[in-house]
């Protein structure tokens, strides 16, 4: 059985376009926002979703996602709420793959096996854990495999060639290519070394390559479309939400995602 993630990338490829993967911090800006935002963004052309699980100390994230996490936590959102949101989105008919992104400690405290079983049952397709390098991922990787979840691996511009090869060997679903040397956050320009970096990763894998960190505009998406299979848009989407009045946020975010094409 091919996974929802693999199917989605295959379809996008067949249609000759890059897959769009908006990042939604669960429970941001309001506790119930994700239930309205995800379906609207799917309508607007989102192909997959990264569902952010809020954490108190997100050390790979810049100010925008830190602030969103703090707000989500203040809204009372915790990991069980994120799993429930995924299940509710599936029940409401959402088709796009859901990849849950969260820091390791909340996952560990919930129990890795239990998390993977519950995530799978909720209709989640994969996990992204930015502070869990492959060296430490044995347990998570086994639990993901047992529950048909993809544990998404990162490569960064700093990752040396031999390590890219090792990571490519154990990766599944897609490879998260960090588009800059830094933390998340909207940027005006793409890193000039990005095409070469993606070409280097491409030599070692047939998996879809998804770029994230700093991808903010339609122009960025057009540029990375030439060499990547997918693009994650996080901070720029949060900034868009923040600039809008609450009642205009869902439509505004949908317009933003439509505009990325």
């Amino acid at each position: 059985m091919t996974s929802r993630i693999a199917e989605t990338f295959a379809r996008c490829k067949a249609e000759g376009r890059i897959a769009l993967m908006p990042y939604l911090m669960v429970g941001y800006p309001e506790r119930g926002s994700t239930m309205a935002l995800a379906p609207a963004l799917e309508q607007a052309g989102a192909d997959l979703f990264e569902l952010g699980v809020p954490f108190s100390d997100p050390l790979a994230d810049g100010a925008t996602i830190q602030r969103a996490a703090e707000q989500s936590l203040r809204n009372g959102v915790r990991l069980p709420d994120c799993l429930r949101t995924a299940a509710d989105l599936r029940a409401a008919g959402l088709q796009a793959p859901l990849v849950m992104m969260g820091y390791y400690n909340p996952f560990l405290q919930y129990g890795i096996d239990r998390l993977c079983a519950d995530a799978q049952a909720a209709g989640v397709d994969g996990l992204i854990i930015p502070d869990l390098p492959p060296e430490e991922a044995e347990e998570a990787s086994a639990a993901c495999q047992a529950n048909q979840l993809d544990l998404i691996c990162f490569v960064a511009p700093t990752t040396p060639e031999p390590r890219i090869r090792q990571i490519a060997q154990i990766a599944s679903g897609f490879i998260y290519c960090v588009a800059l040397t830094g933390v998340t956050g909207a940027r005006t320009e793409l890193w000039s070394g990005l095409p070469d970096f993606l070409a280097r990763v491409r030599q070692h894998t047939d998996l879809p390559l998804v770029v994230g960190f700093g991808i903010s505009t339609a122009a960025h998406i057009r540029q990375v479309g030439a060499y990547a299979d997918g693009a994650i848009v996080a901070s720029a989407l949060i900034n868009t939400l923040d600039a809008l009045a609450p009642e205009a946020q869902t439509a505004g975010a949908a317009a933003f995602v439509r505009g990325l094409r």
């Binding site: 954490f55 108190s56 100390d57 997100p58 050390l59 790979a60 810049g62 830190q66 936590l73 915790r78 990991l79 069980p80 390791y104 400690n105 909340p106 996952f107 560990l108 405290q109 919930y110 930015p130 502070d131 869990l132 390098p133 060296e135 430490e136 691996c153 990162f154 490569v155 960064a156 511009p157 700093t158 990752t159 040396p160 390590r163 960090v178 040397t181 830094g182 933390v183």
Partner: protein, 396 residues
């Protein structure tokens, strides 16, 4: 009992390296460089020479006679890290890592600081070695450790205030890590036996000079080893450095003292062993203060240097193995110990170190007069006079 390290960077189930991929190569390069330095006698010769000529080592051992007499029990000895240059044990690690950074060809140094002692030590070493120094510090800590902020700036360091989260040490570590992720060619000079491998091992090695000197000084001046060794535990660097001198002496009782804060309620203290449980935080697996969902808890201590939600991973193993025991002292007990040591011995201890003094004051009367408690006096209290004055309601 074994306290062997199963794999490099592991302390039983604790330790490891939980970091974003962007940093993986930088951390691996650091590990390689440290390993190479470890085997290079010239590196240690230079470090030892600087310990003497720059830091004023060896630091003395002081018999706290009046305090011992007044308590009427065990004899209390103080290892005087407060007399090391810049006023705390932090200089031992800053010097070691500073030399390592220079050896790696680094010119931009990043550090975090809580009480400001590590920041001051790093600023001093950077000035001495001619390197750029950027120190992240929670804005709450900047307020309560003002003298240290000014000392860092006087030595040419740039102090960057961090106003996220609890605005204390953990937030400063987050920000320093973010800087490092953005500038992996910089050197992150982490200040305690915390974080991803190789930091816990490397910082311990650089702080082990405390335990080595102490053990030799005890044998030299008293003719025997102490019965109990006490050290305060923030991230755990002064304690692990002290403990390592006595780990092989199984009869020596090792005691770490955490910050008991205002109460035992989560958020009101920093007693990780009594109030926390194993988790992964800021690069390492260890005991962490957290809520039931794994969100990192806020902490409180009157001492900025102990006010942190996790403890060094090697302490987690020593705790589980019962090779060391961990207790806590409250804000109030630390303040009382501060005043007692000031008045009985003419030594103002850092509020962090006052936690260790408090434990010694509690233990001494339960022991015989011919027994010995060795306390690591990790730093001096000048930085804390404004906090103390505030508590005492005095204007300075």
């Amino acid at each position: 009992m074994t306290t062997t390290i199963d794999r490099p960077g592991r302390y039983g189930p604790y330790g490891g390296s939980f970091i974003p991929e962007t940093l993986a190569p930088a951390v691996a390069a650091l590990d390689d460089a440290y390993r190479a330095a470890q085997g290079d006698q010239a590196f240690w010769d230079e470090l030892n020479a600087l310990h003497q000529s720059f830091s004023g080592r060896p630091t003395p051992l002081t018999h706290a006679r009046r305090m011992s007499d007044q308590l009427g029990g065990a004899q209390i000895y103080l290892k005087r890290e407060d007399l090391a240059h810049t006023g705390a044990h932090k200089i031992n690690n800053a010097l070691g890592q500073g030399l390592l950074a220079r050896r790696m060809g680094k010119t931009r140094i990043i550090a975090e600081t809580g009480a400001g002692q590590h920041g001051v030590a790093t600023a001093a070493v950077c000035a001495m070695l001619g390197m750029q120094c950027i120190v992240y510090m929670g804005t709450e800590d900047m307020e309560r450790q003002k003298p240290n902020v000014f000392r860092m700036r006087l030595m040419g360091a740039e102090v960057r205030g961090v106003s996220t989260g609890s605005r204390t040490l953990k937030d400063a570590v987050n920000e320093a890590m973010r800087d490092w992720v953005s500038n992996p060619e910089s050197y992150y000079l982490l200040g305690s036996a915390l974080g991803p491998h190789p930091y816990p091992a490397m910082v311990r090695d650089f702080q082990s000079v405390i335990g080595r000197e102490s053990r030799a000084q005890m044998l030299e001046t008293v003719g025997r080893l102490p019965d109990v060794v006490v050290a305060c535990v923030g991230g755990g660097s002064n304690a692990i450095g002290m403990f390592h001198g006595f780990l092989a002496d199984e009869q020596v009782d090792l005691r770490g003292v955490e910050a008991g804060g205002r109460s035992a309620a989560l958020g009101e203290h920093a007693a990780r062993f009594s109030g926390g449980r194993p988790g992964v935080f800021q690069g390492t697996r260890t005991y962490v203060l957290q809520d039931e969902d794994g969100q990192i808890a806020l902490t409180h201590s009157i001492s900025a240097g102990l006010d942190y939600a996790a403890v060094g991973p090697e302490h987690a193993k020593l705790h589980d193995d019962e090779r060391a025991f961990y207790t806590s002292a409250s804000d109030e007990q630390a303040l009382a110990a501060f005043q007692a040591l000031s008045q009985l011995e003419g030594i103002l201890p850092a509020l962090e170190s006052a936690h260790a003094i408090a434990e010694a004051m509690r233990l001494a009367p339960t022991m015989r007069r011919d027994q010995i408690i060795l306390v690591n006096l990790s730093g001096r209290g000048d930085k804390d006079i404004f906090t103390i004055a505030g508590v005492l309601g005095v204007d300075v």
